[in-house]
């Protein structure tokens, strides 16, 4: 589904990603683990299309399309989703108006009729309940005054409503207590299926107890230095990153 080949990325002249290659098929969940400052968030931002990153080499192909040539909104409509590590607070824009606009942007792109206010409310109500999100949250301004846990739930709500083909979860576990972590993981697991792929970026293996990956990659110094199955995450938890830091 997504094919990252020899990706080199610089920020203000400094090379952050130094040749990442990664291939994720439909139905798979991949996890990237690594210490702070190793380029994990750079990778997720580059996939989503944030400005300020210079791609010096390599390619990212998504469902046969050159992802890097697309605007962020076109990527999203094509089925790429980034669950942000730090979702921004936007005063004055109601969560519901934002969600409806986003859903209809996608529906228009797929040649579907826009959903009306009633259908929208019904749809959202069903999904918020499952995620333990209070009804009034969607009436509030987008992410404004949300707790850390509420913000992450809101990200998963957006993902659930937009039904992406490929989702990147950037440190979705950071700042979550164990209950919130379970809720968020359940939300993600509910979306797992043969037609959908995930890339879970995390610092800790804890999240991977709940979202069990098919493949685990270790990233340090802008490179993937080891890949394996779930046992790799367990080994990292036991022994830390020291061994791989030396390798980088």
């Amino acid at each position: 589904m997504i094919e990252i080949k020899n990706l080199h990325v610089s920020v203000q002249g400094k090379e952050i990603l130094k040749g990442i290659s990664l291939s994720i098929n439909a139905g798979e969940v991949h996890a990237i683990m690594g210490p702070n400052g190793t380029g994990k968030s750079t990778l997720s931002n580059v996939i989503a299309g944030r400005e300020g990153y210079e791609i010096t080499q390599g390619s990212v192909t998504f469902a046969g399309q050159d992802l890097l040539a697309m605007e962020p909104d076109a990527r999203a409509r094509a089925g790429v989703f980034l669950a942000f590590q730090y979702p921004v607070e936007i005063p004055g824009v109601s969560t519901s108006a934002f969600l409806k606009t986003a859903i209809n942007a996608k529906r228009r792109a797929e040649g579907l009729k826009e959903i009306d206010a009633m259908e929208f409310l019904k749809l959202v109500k069903a999904k918020t309940k499952a995620l333990g999100i209070a009804d009034d949250m969607i009436k509030r301004p987008l992410n404004v005054g949300f707790s850390g846990g509420e913000k992450k739930r809101a990200e998963v709500l957006q993902m659930t409503l937009l039904e992406p083909k490929f989702a990147v979860l950037d440190e979705t576990d950071s700042g979550l207590d164990i209950d919130a972590l379970k809720v968020v993981s359940d939300g993600v697991n509910a979306l797992r299926g043969p037609e959908r792929a995930f890339l879970v970026i995390t610092h800790y293996q804890r999240l991977l107890n709940y979202i069990v990956p098919d493949h685990v990659h270790v990233m340090t110094g802008g490179r993937i230095v080891a890949s394996g199955g779930r046992e790799l995450a367990l080994e990292l938890e036991a022994n830390g990153y020291a061994k791989y830091m030396a390798a980088a």
């Binding site: 400005e51 962020p72 909104d73 004055g92 934002f98 937009l162």
Partner: protein
């Protein structure tokens, strides 16, 4: 201030022959107010860019326009309220054309405990009841536009709510309309709430296209103990029109003044709000939005004067500027030596929608008490790229995302309007501005 001589204020000659016909002229104290104001204008002229309070919004150039008193413009005939004036459910309409009460377009207000009259009527009858109000809160000596108003005021509204009046919603609609010649009018409004009274005042200022006009209203508001006034003002004058409005509010103990000002159009607009906190426990919220395009100029000037302990003021003002427009925000907060436990907050944010506009922001804090909480902030900038990316990362195209964010920037302040129907009406005015902008850009 530089003395600029007799010729620098524009209305002298046009009014000279009318002085005796102005309302209240036969009462010595009213005539005295006018004489004093006229003398001030004759020596100082209208304030130009060298006068501190008008440094960003000089008004001396008014002298170049041959305004005639609106009352002399007998070729003006306004038969309808313009369609862009919102109809607010539950609010009684009071319509002023060129500052003069138009009974035919106004609703009949018969509510026990509430009196709404024209200033002209009141001055023709008994001037004593308005003597403490008229000129008592807004002083000609320190405020040149008040002097201009006082010299030439011809009418206005006198609104009085009796003790514990439980509340009503009045919608004052001011329509500016010139005939063959530019007109000027200087409405003088007096609002008095007795102890415990509540009132909601909505003001919509609009104008008809055509010749230029100047409206220079002064509103003096007296809030007795525990009185509560909400006042929502929108200004969307004709493109070349001048609108200078001064409001002075005196707050007694535990009274509240909750104001919202929208600046959405006019050639040169200044909305000045001055609150004097004279009783403990009094509080005011003065919020606002502005949205400017073309060569519009909008000045929002506030002065919060905390004179006694335990008073609160809060201001949140946000604006967007497009084209070659110019926005001014001047926020003065004065905390007297005795005014311990004052809580005063002020935040102004402006967003540039183009490279052409200019924004001048001048917060002024003068704090003489030591046990107070005062916070002020000011920010001008462009749309936040992180916000834009977040929306686009959800599939929303760039133009739609930008429109959503600009709208949200302003809606953030509109949310502070407590009355739902008013909030919706003001939101519709702002959305209308944004739609017109989008259409201009598409064209």
């Amino acid at each position: 201030m530089v003395a600029t001589g007799l010729l620098d204020h524009p209305f002298k000659e046009a009014y000279a022959s009318k002085a005796g016909a102005l309302p209240g002229a036969t009462h010595a104290w009213v005539d005295g107010l006018r004489q004093t104001a006229r003398a001030l204008l004759n020596t100082a002229g209208l304030p130009g860019p060298k006068t501190e309070a008008f440094i960003f919004t000089p008004v001396s150039d008014l002298a170049k326009i041959p305004f005639i008193p609106a009352a002399s413009a007998d070729d003006v005939d306004v038969r309808d309220v313009p369609l862009n004036v919102p109809r607010i459910a539950g609010a009684s309409r009071i319509v002023l054309v060129n500052g003069v009460l138009n009974a035919a377009l106004s609703d009949n207000i018969a509510v026990e405990g509430l009196r709404v009259e024209s200033l002209k009527q009141v001055l023709a009858r008994d001037t004593l009841s308005v003597k403490p109000l008229l000129g008592g809160l807004a002083a000609s000596a320190s405020l040149p536009l008040v002097a201009l108003n006082t010299a030439y005021m011809a009418d206005g509204l006198v609104i009085r709510a009796g003790k514990n009046f439980a509340g009503a919603m009045l919608h004052v609609i001011s329509i500016g309309a010139a005939g063959a010649e530019p007109v000027a009018f200087h409405p003088r409004n007096l609002v008095a709430l007795e102890p415990g009274a509540q009132l909601t005042l909505i003001e919509t200022h609009v104008g008809l296209p055509g010749q230029n006009y100047l409206t220079n209203p002064v509103t003096e508001i007296s809030l007795a103990e525990n009185a509560r006034l909400k006042r929502y003002v929108s200004v969307a004058e004709d493109d070349d029109a001048f609108h200078f409005a001064t409001t002075s509010v005196a707050l007694s103990a535990h009274s509240t003044f909750n104001a919202f000002h929208a600046g959405l159009g006019g050639g040169k607009v200044r909305q000045e709000v001055r609150a004097a906190f004279l009783g403990t426990g009094s509080s005011a919220i003065v919020n606002g939005v502005y949205a400017l395009s073309g060569k519009q100029h909008h000045d929002f000037t506030t002065a919060m004067d905390h004179a006694v302990p335990h008073t609160t003021s809060s201001q949140l003002v946000k604006g967007v500027v497009d084209g070659q427009s110019r926005a001014v925000f001047q926020g003065r907060v004065l905390v007297d030596r005795d005014a311990q436990k004052t809580d005063a907050r002020q935040l102004h944010k402006a967003m540039f929608l183009a490279k052409g506009p200019a924004v001048d922001c001048k917060p002024e804090l003068e704090i003489f008490a030591d046990d107070v909480q005062c916070a002020h902030g000011a920010a001008t900038g462009e749309l936040d790229e992180n916000h834009l990316f977040y929306l686009m990362a959800r599939g929303i195209d760039r133009d739609t995302a930008r429109a959503l964010l600009v709208s949200g920037f302003l809606e953030d302040v509109l949310e502070s309007i407590g009355d739902e129907q008013v909030r919706e009406a003001f939101s519709a005015l702002v959305q209308g501005w944004l739609k017109r902008r989008a259409m201009r850009r598409a064209a």
